[in-house]
Symmetry: C2
Subunit: 139 residues, 2 copies
Amino acid sequence: MTLTGIDADEDEAATLAAATVYVCITCRRPDDPEDGPRPGLALARATAQAAQGTGVAVCQVQCLANCSRPCSAAMRCDGAWAYVFGGLEPDRDAPALIEGARLLARAQDGILPWRGRPEILKRGLIARMPPIGFEEERE
Amino acid sequence: MTLTGIDADEDEAATLAAATVYVCITCRRPDDPEDGPRPGLALARATAQAAQGTGVAVCQVQCLANCSRPCSAAMRCDGAWAYVFGGLEPDRDAPALIEGARLLARAQDGILPWRGRPEILKRGLIARMPPIGFEEERE
């Protein structure tokens, strides 16, 4: 059976809806004032804006514990590995986070592909974690 | 209703069974030979041994992408935050990983408590990630 265009669009939207980007809203860089507006919050707002119409969910969190390399964000998708990124800039990297989440949602093997991944999601990679139900590697 | 001792034990075992420690088996420290036995694998084996009889699952993984601060491990439990740790020593830190997983499994709020947490799981904290179904923080 061939999907109609509408069916395919709905299928795509359903897949991407399972992708969530978590943005730390307490992150600040070493030079940022402690009592000023948090760049993490600015990144969260920019990411939510970049997500509009994509089906990717954006969720604000208090601290991803990556305080030495702000700003921080993570992404997860059902059945896929989860990723944490650091060194993000609020006025630059929101579109890369959404692009990464879309790539992850489409990845058949549940792994964020290296090829085509936005550069900041390569050099800013902090850690990854296997999906629930991941099976042990063989020695 | 008061649980009998046996029921309580079974309940405890069921809770802890949901906790999994993931150990990176490809981790090596800067001074380790590239083709020698990987300290990450030694840590994974020690952690599996330390887990015996506790109900905590230990799972070997290829790379947690925390390559700048080896050795690395992560832990997760149903409904709880997930954590990634680095700077672990194979011959020292396996019991701390199991103790941390037990603390996480018992945490009512899904957050690994700071008080009582093994020291290496404080200074070796790399990142954390909210559980699936986590609700957005309010601004």
